[in-house]
Amino acid sequence: MKEKERDVIVETVSRVMIPFIQLFALYVIIHGSGGPGGGFQGGVVFASSFILFVIAFDILGGRKRFPESINTTLSSIGLYIYAGIGLLAIIFSRGMAQYLNYGFIPFTSHFQENRALGMDFVEMGIGITVMAIIASIFFDLAQKNE
């Protein structure tokens, strides 16, 4: 395979941009309950930072920074967080079987605040899964030549 040409401008700009894109993605996920955004959007924005890295540098470096084992683990961990929060709600509702009713999980003393916090954790789970899956699909499609 031909050696890739290095472009100083693209590499420098993406080196500056990538941390801010990831910070913005975390902001979108955390502020999902207060403003526009949420887990799906934040996860996709986070995955786009990996895509930018692979486009600007090379795919092997991208894989080294986000290894396959971690990627596969994260993609299921997000879903486990979501389902686990629902399971916690079942346990703490003591026989009422309120699956995914976050109000029963005792984060704070207020039922409504518990619901808001439960929603935040759920959004984080969604964000992790979406980020890992989008990155996984992208790496799989880009790595086909090898």
Binding site: G32, S33, G34, P36, S75, M96, Q98, Y99, G103, E123
Partner: protein, 180 residues
């Protein structure tokens, strides 16, 4: 072969014509676009009762007997309280008791309206509660988020599972030679 296709063509055209006429027949009942009182947005009509002196009773916050028996016959929950609507004349809200832990037991359920010589009874759509009570119930100001993650939590769990399944199937299709 050619004859069979011709036969199917005629059948298909007949079917399309029948479906089109059905749609035209139904189109009268479709609510207008952007109508604030459309069934999925505001309420669905359940029944209508002939009007005698019911509206006076309703104004005194009492439930007329005829209305009550009519609702019981059809298996609807019984209203416990009637309140006059604050916005319009000749409109009332009916409240029922619901079994929900941690929240007010009363919920706005019926909408009663006087029109000509009839008393029309509607049932509120779920969206009304979603809009009016969502902030109080979940302490989250974003209507979309509490809908997505709380009221429709099961739906979002399924969506996340769909995305996970898509990722796993891409791994299985494209990464056959290496280990998972």
């Amino acid at each position: 072969m050619g004859k069979e296709i011709k036969k199917f063509r005629i059948i298909t055209i007949c079917l399309i014509i029948i479906i089109c006429t059905l749609f035209i027949y139904i189109a009268d009942d479709i609510p207008n676009f952007g109508d604030p009182n459309a069934p999925p947005i505001k309420f669905v009509e359940i029944l209508r009762v002939e009007l005698n002196q019911e509206s006076d009773l309703l104004d005194q916050n009492k439930i007329p007997y005829q209305l009550l028996s009519e609702l019981t016959n059809r298996g609807f929950p019984i209203p416990v309280r009637i309140e006059k609507s604050s916005e319009y004349k000749d409109e009332w809200n009916g409240f029922i008791i619901k079994e929900e832990p941690h929240y007010e037991k009363e919920e706005k359920y019926y909408f009663i309206k006087k029109e000509d010589s009839f008393l029309k009874v509607y049932r509120y759509a779920f969206v009304v509660r979603w809009i009016e009570k969502g902030l109080k119930e979940t302490a989250v100001p974003n209507m979309v988020t509490y809908g997505l993650a709380d009221y429709r939590g099961y739906d979002t769990l399924g969506e996340t599972t769909v995305i996970f399944t898509a990722g796993v199937s891409v791994i299985l299709l494209l990464r056959r030679k290496s280990r998972l």
